[in-house]
């Protein structure tokens, strides 16, 4: 088939495993730094405001106030957060994101290449573990797709863009899985795997994947009732 020939051609293969790797990582790093700086520029560091003693009843506070025992257990408190509101979604998304990160980074195949190229030898998963994690990832990705298509409230704000993004995120893992198990024409699949991986790296700073940086900056460093840290930045 013509298309398969294109993808298995030596030119594309060499491009995908050569210059495109460099370009995609470069764009990823440069784009990420750009986005992080841009995000930070939207907020400013506030001086933490001291409590101004305008309350005339402000007498000297007693030395140490006895800490009140919490009525709710940590589990009950957790239930009041988003974890209690949508537990399945939170568990699935946590698993999804963990696999998204650990599978490519600690994959044996990737690290063999890293070792060959730069002598960098890092810890890796066994092939079986990586396989299982990939399947888990694909299952969670499928959950997201089905949710997006069949849950009314999610569908109401879904567009074609969301589906493309889903493909960009899932395709590297799917093609990697197929390549490892040598299903279909290996050469075609591995080139597709590389191209999709590179596409995803390039897409990270310029699409909604930027939530990778946004999440940490905003949930930890910006003031809000939902802040996860003691951030002191506020929006301009």
């Amino acid at each position: 088939m013509e298309i398969s020939n294109i993808f298995s051609s030596a030119l594309l293969y060499n491009l995908a495993r050569g210059p495109l790797v460099w370009i995609s990582f470069l764009v990823f790093f440069a784009g990420s730094i750009f986005q992080i700086l841009r995000i930070l520029s939207l907020t400013k560091n506030d001086e933490r405001i001291g409590i101004q003693a305008k309350d005339s009843k402000n007498k000297k506070k007693p030395a140490k106030e006895k800490k009140k025992e919490a009525i709710l257990s940590w589990f009950q408190q957790l239930k009041l957060t988003i974890v209690g509101v949508s537990p399945i979604m939170i568990i699935v998304t946590t698993v999804f994101h963990i696999c998204l990160f650990v599978v490519p980074v600690f994959l044996l195949a990737h690290n063999i290449m890293l070792d060959d190229a730069w002598g960098l030898s890092i810890i890796t998963f066994s092939e079986k573990t990586a396989d299982i994690l990939t399947i888990i990832f694909l299952a969670t990705a499928l959950f997201f797709l089905l949710r997006r298509l069949f849950v009314g409230r999610v569908r109401s704000i879904t567009s074609l863009y969301d589906c493309f993004i889903w493909i960009i995120a899932t395709a590297p893992f799917l093609t990697g899985f197929l390549a490892y198990h040598q299903m279909f024409d290996y050469r075609t699949v591995i080139v597709l795997h590389m191209l999709f991986g590179e596409l995803m790296l390039i897409a990270i700073p310029f699409t909604k994947f930027t939530h990778m940086f946004f999440f940490f900056i905003f949930r930890f460093f910006v003031k809000s009732e939902y802040s996860l840290g003691k951030g002191n930045r506020s929006w301009y």
Binding site: I49, I51, K54, L72, L80, E225
Partner: protein, 224 residues
Amino acid sequence: MVKSERKPIEEIKDSIKGYKNILNIGCGGCSSVCLSGGQREVNMLNAELNTLFKAENGSQKIDGYTIERQCNAKYYYDLPEILLNYDCILSMACGAGVQLAAEIFSNKPVFPAVNTVSIGIDRDIGMYEEKCRACGQCVLGYTAGICPVTRCAKSLFNGPCGGTNGGGMCEISNEIPCAWHDIYERLKEQNRLDDILKIQPVMMWQNQVQRTTIQEPYKERYGK
């Protein structure tokens, strides 16, 4: 907006003692904005109370429902039907909302879950500063936007008392800035010191008796 803070849990629990089915009504207005009585606080309070009820093995149970505002009757449209299943109301709205709820549902006890503190501004997340005492005789135009009723410990209207010490602080505490010192400084900056040279008449405290405010275009309608 109106700033309030939640009462201690023991006080709330004590007030609803003896009622089996309680509805905790939250307010999407001022209470939500100052983080004292919005939907999230309703859920948290209910979780705490239900835990305490369970520990007592009592038959008390509390549910929650948040409406847009409790200070306007038109937002109560959902409640009559819902309240058929409850024998008392716990309201997380400000004092005004609690009283309107008590008036509309006069056959059911209504208990406040928050203490209404002030009319204030949002200084920072979770921090709210009182700015206005609703005296009904606003002199902010003459005092560079600093309210002597709220900020001055004696609510003086015509300059500081003799107790303001060298650092521009209030007589009652070294940590409280003297309102009149600040008024003077700001008026000086704006070249408006003449404003405080006019003697302001004695405040006819207008907030001793319940006031009804009717806006000018509606005065005829209500026969005033």
